[in-house]
Symmetry: C2
Subunit: 474 residues, 2 copies
């Protein structure tokens, strides 16, 4: 593509994107295509001859756009609602054009050092001490996997060299998290060879927080049974209810038991920027590692996960190795990102975090976070006041869990589950909103997650209206 | 950022990028900043108040651009030279704006199904059979890690549940690769708990290809010593010399020994699109998995790694698990990308591969690959014809390894190493080219990797001129 053509299509694309971001509500939130519909509309083979970009964009609009689920829609209330904000989108465009690959300091001093600077900015904003060094990964799944590799490295002599198999000196290993922890912790223990049974899930209290007494008991029981406890994962903002584990009390346990403490604050960690919510990270200063995802609630286009570690030397002890073709004169004087993890290649992700933090400024970001929390409180209030709905969990942040439960009628749990699943699906079929359910104590729970920057009271009011309307219809 | 402002800055950015991509040679290839220079030029804290995008872009130009190493410069000959082509850059811009997170089919049917379609296109282009299912990861490091997890899953009963530790029924494990295999294989065996010693590196022949007789002997020896061999990693295009392991003969061994065969074709795999080079994947149809990186030699902005697997059920057996908050009605009828690996979140990477394959078409891509290979042959010819330079490896693709070794003078190996390292650094200091050395049989080797789409004979001639000039000076 010659420069003039790039310019022309670039300008057209800016206009397309501007229009798209201005009117995300023109599309149904949740795509209405059927499985296989997109694939069957596309040719089976790549073309032999090149095609004009206009034709490709036309197919994009015709075939692919109907297959998008619109994460940019202000009626997106499913999972964790996220935002790819305008400064972040521009930064990612620039990042793609620069095509930096920051495996070594010398292959991108700017990406390497901007990562350090922006992660320090974010660290100070959420109140973590200087002792935490940061690195950017793609996802919290990868960040938590690295945390557990570091825990393994710290706990098991020679594990980098000798691994875990065929070693009579290494007993069965335990990692602890609550029943409400994220599935990425399950995948991490599987991936790194500890096995799924190594993950012991600790019971939660009425507010879905890890019970420290149960953690204590589990560790004692495991030690008696000759398991080797190595780590605890505490969650600040669990996925289903955004409950906050008692990090300080868990840190006490970890100090006493000499266990690695990893804090999964992927969703809620940024809320510590708010004076009202700074306490959510109480005790996290004593954690060994923590993950927070700017791509969740910090208006950053997917993907950018910030991993902080007080013992990054353990990550390096596990992973640093320099083959002949990656030797550089400045090794030892600089940070080479390849030393902090599995991935050799690293995108220039810091650029978007830098542009977003500067473009909004901390004040405006706090205002958006507060507004989301406020909207969730409003919704919780409406639910609490309604005789036919029941709230199922506290609302510490911007997610509300509840269910339809009609007053004056006795329905079995199974009937309530089925009715709530139908209600969930019915409001999604309107195309105006998208919610995703979960289960709490084994029962279907409706769940509204507020997190998109364009979501206003009007949108929250609308999902609530739809829920009431369809509850009556179903 | 309001829509009008986004539009304005978007258009300005298109012009900036167009100008940048038109004149990448205005900058020194390798950044000239000193360690810490970028970080110290930036404030210690994020701003409280938002700043205009113009101010941010001004700082980007003033502070960050001098810290870029220009992977877009046609004089970039280091590592593997890569290209973030114009259609790919536009696609990544669109992808950032759409902000799809394709963990589940329903969270982006378009991203999920386009991934399947484009990976099938690429699979057919490189001649792999239908039996290979594809998935996109960020990097080959992650792809190869997943391959070895699958090998572990296939070989060790109950490993997902029970892991590797504290199991008298699981002996020490072996994985094999050549001495020239990529460091990502080392990191993978460490990450997944096999330990670095589990990786046995097999000697290579004169052309840096794995010796199958040595592989045979190693497996026999290990079996006798009660190690459990589980996998062999064959490389098609090793990092130092781009040598090609004898995949078909290795496949014979793997079939006989019942070992997982993973083919690391991250760099060279795309060359199988050329009739002249289709043979490089001979035998790969019998592999269990293969990785090829469009972000290396297929003009795709970093990151996009294509992983193909004949036994994706083993990846799913290891990783598929669906927590309550990710249940969907269509589970079982659709592919949910989260089931194929550690990462839950998935970017819409297929969009750029689709736009690139369509925009260039297979013919033009083949022409570019051929041109790069041709340029490397030319350079190899010049080196072979020069009395003071010595070529150190065959040139099957677009990378040339050689060293300065003056005719008629006897220099110790150490003196030659030092002189070649000085020569490497001297040509890099010109700012016109960037090369990165390696070591071959323990000695410093210069290395010119041709892979950028804008690299022409003029640039290759220039690096050769600079090498000759500075060889005399040093």
């Amino acid at each position: 593509m010659d420069p003039a053509t790039f310019r022309r299509h670039g300008h057209e694309l800016v206009d397309w994107i501007a229009e798209y971001l201005e009117h995300p509500e023109r599309y149904p939130v949740l795509s209405r295509v059927r499985p296989g519909e997109i694939a069957s509309a596309l040719p089976r083979h790549a073309p032999e001859a090149g095609e004009p970009f206009d034709a490709i964009m036309a197919d994009f609009e015709r075939v692919l756009v109907p297959g998008l689920t619109h994460w940019n829609h202000p009626g997106f209330f499913a999972y964790f609602a996220i935002t790819g904000s305008a400064p972040g989108v521009l930064a990612d465009f620039l990042s793609a054009a620069l095509n930096q690959q920051a495996m070594l300091w010398r292959t991108s001093p700017a990406a390497t050092e901007l990562e350090e600077v922006t992660l320090a900015w974010l660290r100070r904003l959420i109140g973590l001490p200087e002792a935490f060094e940061g690195v950017i990964y793609d996802t919290a799944s990868i960040a938590s996997m690295h945390a557990l590799v570091a825990a393994r490295e710290a706990a098991i002599p020679g594990v980098r060299a000798k691994g875990l198999a065929g070693r009579p000196d290494v007993p069965r290993i335990r990692v602890y998290c609550s029943e409400q922890a994220h599935s990425s912790i399950d995948k991490a223990v599987i991936a790194i060879g500890l096995g799924h049974e190594s993950l012991r899930k600790i019971a939660v209290d009425d507010a879905y927080r890890m019970r420290v007494d149960a953690l204590d008991a589990a560790i004692a029981e495991d030690r008696a049974d000759l398991w080797l406890p190595i780590a605890v994962v505490a969650t600040v903002g669990t996925t289903s209810t955004t409950s906050v584990d008692p990090v300080a009390a868990i840190a006490d346990v970890c100090e006493r038991e000499q266990l690695w403490l990893h804090v999964d604050a992927a969703y809620a960690g940024v809320a510590a920027m708010l004076p009202s919510h700074a306490h959510i990270l109480d005790g996290a200063d004593r954690a060994d590692s923590l993950v927070v995802n700017p791509h969740k609630w910090l208006f950053t286009p997917f993907d950018l996960s910030a991993f902080y570690c007080r013992r990054m030397d353990m990550i390096r002890a596990a992973f640093a190795l320099t083959p002949d073709y990656l030797m550089t004169a400045e090794a030892g004087q600089v940070k080479n990102l390849m030393d902090t993890g599995v991935q050799l290649g690293r995108r220039f992700r810091a650029l978007k975090l830098w542009m977003i933090l500067r473009s909004y400024g901390a004040q405006t970001i706090r205002q958006h976070l507060s507004a989301h929390i406020q909207l969730a409180q409003q919704l919780a209030g409406w639910i609490d006041a309604h005789p036919d709905f029941e709230r199922l969990a506290p609302v510490p942040f911007s997610v509300v869990c509840f269910r339809w439960k009609p007053a004056g009628r006795t329905l079995s749990d199974e009937a309530l589950d089925a009715a709530n699943q139908r209600l969930n699906d019915a409001v999604n079929q309107t195309g105006e909103v998208f919610i995703s359910p979960t289960k709490l104590r084994g029962r279907v729970a409706l769940r509204v997650a507020i997190g998109h920057i364009r979501t206003t009271e009007q949108h929250v009011r609308r999902v609530w209206d739809l829920l009431q309307t369809h509850a009556h219809a179903s």
